[in-house]
Symmetry: C2
Subunit: 192 residues, 2 copies
DNA sequence: ATCCTTGATGGCAGTGACTGACATGAGCAT
DNA sequence: ATGCTCATGTCAGTCACTGCCATCAAGGAT
């Protein structure tokens, strides 16, 4: 039974994540050392690396949540729906998670765009998300390479829509931009 | 006038690239230090970093060639061809460049798959290629977000086709696999 | 001929990310 | 009590990468 009120301050991971994000915003990513992050979280550098594989990883805590939600959404789509619609519905579902986070997302995106290190890690997360969606589609019975291609297409619509959403002059909702993205894909593939 | 027969052995970059590739194959990527690479090339570590921004970059000399060829191909497509066909033709063009390199590509892919570092850099190269294709399509008059989506789709077909090509049981040509990929995209987007 | 500039290189010290090995000490089970 | 667990601390070490300065052949200018 571990109902531990342990001797250490609770939620070390959370404190590290918070400290890192704050410092990145305050001083910038490169100007922040791992030792800085750990110190602000009341821990040591060595402990940081026990919670996160590297300095970049602390920035991508949300990626796992997004993936879980995406897979849940795919499973929820009834089996007689076409592959295209299944992908569209699932991607719209995770787009919906971003509601009311535009300002936060903008600040985060500013950081990512400013540092090649973070962009690389973001691309890995995107690739992981794509692979997960591919697997989920295969479990629906979609054969290869259609599963990979459909997944790649869906995640592309998500990310391209994401950056458009961040500075959309009309302030449309993310979900609507995604829906429109899928329409564009349909149009392009029909050969206009 | 610089017809310099300089005092240094010629083609330092090439020697570094070759030394790096050989060492990565012999001992593995992580087991090879930058100092090792420089030593084998007859140079110093400091000089390595004057030619390549970091240890990973020396592995991706071919990326620039691929991008140039892709852009050349897009420019060569006549203006009255649909966006989809323009992308298909251009991507098939760079797929054609890989002819007779299957064995080499396989060894290279083994290295990339074995090291997250290299995967990240590969994804950045892919993103750069996608951005370049997007620009080329925009110059053809394709509006956003169709340009981004079509480019993303085309590059996805390329990369997904690439890994299928590497261990295709039927030993089909890369170009044929790519062509088939575009057909699959068409089918998926038409809603099967 | 002498001087000066250019450019690729070497040498060297320093920073910071990351790792391995070992120590510590509160909680929990027996 | 005794011992085990496990998150943490401590420390030394490797390696990627950078800044700064020295070198020294080639080529042009005076």
């Amino acid at each position: 039974m571990m109902l531990c009120m342990s001797r250490w301050s609770p939620n070390a991971r959370g404190r590290l994540e918070r400290a890192a994000y704050d410092l990145f915003v305050e001083r910038g990513y490169e100007e922040t050392t791992v030792a800085d992050i750990a110190r602000r979280a009341g821990l040591t550098e060595r402990t940081f690396f026990r919670h996160y594989a590297d300095k970049r990883e602390v920035f991508f805590g949300g990626a796992a949540v997004l993936q879980e939600e995406l897979l849940r959404a795919v499973d929820a789509v009834s089996a007689n729906v076409s592959t295209f619609e299944a992908v569209r519905i699932s991607v719209e579902a995770i787009a919906h998670l971003m509601r009311d986070r535009r300002v936060l997302a903008r600040e985060r995106q500013r950081l990512v765009l400013a540092h090649a290190d973070l962009q690389e890690r973001e691309l890995i997360k995107r690739a992981t998300l794509t692979a997960a969606l591919t697997d989920a589609l295969k479990q629906r019975g979609v054969p290869e390479p259609a599963a990979s291609l459909a997944a790649d297409m869906g995640i592309a619509v998500f990310y391209i829509g994401f950056v458009r959403w961040l500075d959309d002059p009309a302030e449309r909702e993310f979900v609507d931009i995604v829906r429109e993205g899928f329409d564009h894909i349909k149009a392009v593939a029909s050969g206009c």
